[in-house]
Amino acid sequence: MSAVAVEFQEREDYLQEYTLKSWLLTTDHKRIGLLYMATITLFFFIGGATATVMRLELMTPQGDVLYSPDAYNRLFTMHGVVMIFFFLVPSIPAVLGNFLIPIMIGARDLAFPILNLLSWYILMIGGAIALWILIFGGIDTGWTFYTPFSTMFSNTMVVPAAAAVFITGFSSILTGLNFIVTIHTMRAPGMTWFRLPLFVWAIYATSLIQVLATPVVAIAIALVAVERVLRVGVFDPALGGDPILFQHLFWFYSHPVVYIMVLPGMGVVAEIVPCFSRRPIFGYRFIAFSSIAIAVLGFLVWGHHMFVSGQSMYAGMIFSMLSYLIAIPSAIKVFNWTATLYKGSVRLDTPMLYALGFIGLFTLGGLTGLMLASLAIDVHVHDTYFVVAHFHYIMVGGAVMAYLGGIHFWWPKMSGRMYNELLGKLSALIVFIGFNLTFFPQFVLGYLGMPRRYYEYPPEFQVLNVMSTAGASILAVGYVLPLVYLLLSLRNPPDAGPNPWRATGLEWQTTSPPPVHNFDEPPVVMEDPYAYSPEAAEALDDNGTGDGGSTLRR
C-alpha cells in the first residue's frame, strides 16, 4: 500500500465517526450530501413558514392579518428567494447527487472532494446572509429583482440580498463542475455512457446548465448592486439605463434554472419506476438524450417571460415557438416512464407513489406551460395566479415530490434504516391531495384575472383563495410527517440490508450504509442498467404475502 493508506483508516461505514470535526471537515461526498440535506430542510421549512403566513393573509380579500402591505411584499420575496436558491436548486443534486453519483458510477468519491465541501460552506455563507436579511426585515423586490424598482425605489436590503444570491451561485457552479468532471473521467471499468443510470444522465444535464447559466445571473445581480450603490444608470431609464436589459440578463439564467430544478427529479423518477415495476425502463436512450435536449433548448426560451415587456413582436414569436419545442423531450420522458409500467410487476411502495405522483402532476403542470407559451393566451395570464399555479405544479408537484421519493427510496442506503411504510404511504397521499387542493384553484383564479403578488383582491376571488389556503394546511401536514418518521427511524438499528428493494445499480451492491470509500472491491460493470425481470419478480413472491419476498420491516 502507498503512503496514502496511513492518512485514513477504514471504518465499518461512513457514519461511524461522530465528532463535530469529522462532520464539518469531512470530504466524504456522502457526509456532504447529508450536510446539504440538513441545510436545505431548514430552508424548506423557513420558506414554508413564509408561505403559511401568505396563505393566511389571502384567506380574506382585505389585508387584515399582516400589519402592512410591505410585510406581505417582503414575505413573498423571501419565499421565492429562499425556496429557489436555498432549497430547490441545491435539493436533489446536492443531497442525492452528492451521495449517489460516485457510487452509481463505481468511484470512491467525487473528483474534487475538498471543492465539494467548499461548495457547502459557500451555500452556508449565502444562506447566513439570507437569514440575516430575513430577520432584519427582508427585501421587497420580488425574487425577480426587476429594475428600476430594485435599484432606485426599494427601501430594503437589496445589496446584501444581491450578495447572497451572487455567493450562493458559486455553490451551484462548483457542484455542477464537480459532477461533470466526475462523470466524464471516473466511471468504473465497463461503465460506458449508455450503461449509466438515467439519474446520472439527468444530473449531468443539470450540471451543464448550472455551470453555464449561473454566471450570467451573477453579473445581472452584481450590476443591480452597482446601480444601487453608485446611483449610476445601468438599468434606470431616468439615468440613461435600460430596464429591459436587466430582464434579458436575469431571465437568461432564470429560465434554465427551472430545468436545474426539475431535471434531477426526472432522474429520480427514472430510477424508481423500473425498480417498482421490476422491469427495464422503456426507451433508455430517448430518455438520456431528452435530458440533454432539455438542457440545450432551455437556454433558448427565456424571452417567454417577457412577452408583454415591450420586446419586439418577432422576438416574441421566436421564443414562443421554441417554448413549444421544449415540451417535446419532456413528453418523451412521460410516455417512456408510463410505458415502463406495461408488462411490469408493479408495487406501490412509498417511493413509487411519489414517482407516479410526479408523472401526473408534472404532465398537468407542463401542459399548462404550453398555454403560457402561447402568445395570445400569455398576454392575458402573464403575472397572474395562472403562472403561480403552473410553476408550483412543476416545482412542488414535480420537483419536491421527486425529492421526497428519492429520499424515501435511498433512505435505507443512506442511513441503513427503514422507515414506517404505512406512514410513508399516508404522507404521500396527504401531500398529493393537499397539493392539488392548494394549487388547482389558482389556475382558475389566474384566468379570472387575479394578479400575482397581491395581498388584497376583489371579493369574488375569495372562495377560490379559501380553498387554496385549506389545501395548504393539508399540504403542511404532509410535509411535517416525513420529517418526523424519517428521524424516528434512526432509532432503529441499521438492519435494512444492502438491497431492501432488490434494485439494480451499483449503489445497491454495497452495504447500507456504505463504507467510507463506497466499495470494498472496485466494481466492474458488465450488464446493462435496469436488468429487472417482472417474471422473476412474480416467481420470487412465492410466500403468498405479496411483499415480493423483500427484507422490509413493517
Partner: protein, 242 residues
C-alpha cells in the same frame, strides 16, 4: 501550445529523478492519467463559467454600444490607448513566461520553473501598476462614476449640440471600470496563485514536480490574458479613428 508529456525515456535522457518522486495519487482516482484528466477538465469547465461571466458584461456593453454609438465612441476617446497597448504587450509576455514555466515543470527543470513563475508574477504586477496609473489618471480627470464623475469639458459642447444622453456617456465608464476591475481582480488572484505555486515549488512541496498543478495554473493565466485580448479592442480601440 502543446508540450510533450514527461515519459520515462525523456526522464532518463535528462537529469536523474528520484524513483519515488511520482505525483501522489489522490485516493478517489484510479490512476495518474485519470487524475490529470480530471484536473484539466475541471479547469476548462471553470474557464467556461468565466466566459459566461465576462460574457454577460460584454453583452451589456454591446447592447449599449449599439443603441448609443455616439456616446460610447466619445467616451472611449478618453481611454489611454498607449498604456493599454503597453499592458497588452506585458500580459502577452506574461503568458509566454507562464507557458515556459509549464514546460519547465514538465521537464523537471526546477530553477527554470522558479524563474519563469517569478517572471510571470513580475509582469502581472507590472500590468496592475500600469492599470493603477490609468485609474489614477481617470480619477484625476473626474471619470469615475459614483465617485467624482463629471462630463469632461471637451465633450460638453458636443453632448449639448448633438443632444446626447449623458447617462449613456457615463455608462461607458461604469462598464469600463467594472470589466477592467473584474479582470484586475482575476489577475490579482492569478498572481497570488502563481506566487503560491512558486513558493510550493521552491519548497518541493509537490509530489512529482507538480506538473499538473502548474499546467492548471497556466490555463487560468492564459484565460486572464484572453479576456484582456477581448477587452482591449472593445474598450480602447473600437472607436479610435472615429
Amino acid at each position: 501550445m502543446t508540450m510533450e508529456p514527461v515519459t520515462a525515456d525523456r526522464r532518463s535522457a535528462g537529469k536523474p529523478i528520484a524513483a519515488e518522486d511520482e505525483p501522489i495519487l489522490e485516493v478517489q482516482f484510479d490512476d495518474l492519467e485519470q487524475q490529470h484528466e480530471a484536473s484539466m477538465l475541471g479547469m476548462w469547465l471553470f474557464l467556461a463559467t468565466e466566459v459566461l461571466f465576462f460574457g454577460g458584461l460584454i453583452t451589456s456593453y454591446a447592447v449599449y454600444r449599439s443603441t448609443s454609438p455616439r456616446e460610447v465612441a466619445l467616451a472611449s476617446h478618453h481611454m489611454k490607448v498607449g498604456l493599454g497597448c503597453l499592458n497588452t504587450v506585458i500580459l502577452l509576455g506574461s503568458s509566454l513566461t507562464m507557458a515556459l514555466a509549464v514546460r519547465a515543470s514538465q521537464l523537471r527543470a526546477h530553477r527554470d520553473l522558479l524563474w519563469w513563475l517569478g517572471g510571470t508574477m513580475v509582469l502581472g504586477t507590472l500590468f496592475l501598476g500600469v492599470k493603477a496609473i490609468e485609474y489614477t489618471a481617470e480619477y484625476q480627470e473626474n471619470l469615475v462614476p459614483g465617485w467624482n464623475f463629471q462630463i469632461p469639458e471637451e465633450n460638453r459642447a458636443t453632448i449639448e449640440q448633438e443632444q446626447l444622453n449623458p447617462g449613456r456617456f457615463q455608462m461607458f465608464f461604469v462598464l469600463y471600470f467594472f470589466m477592467t476591475g473584474l479582470h484586475a481582480i482575476h489577475l490579482i488572484i492569478g498572481i497570488a496563485l502563481v506566487g503560491v505555486m512558486a513558493y510550493l515549488s521552491w519548497r518541493r512541496w509537490f509530489s512529482g514536480g507538480g506538473a499538473t498543478q502548474i499546467e492548471v495554473t497556466g490555463l487560468y493565466w492564459h484565460f486572464i490574458d484572453i479576456v484582456w485580448v477581448f477587452l482591449y479592442p472593445l474598450l480602447y480601440l473600437i472607436d479610435v479613428h472615429s
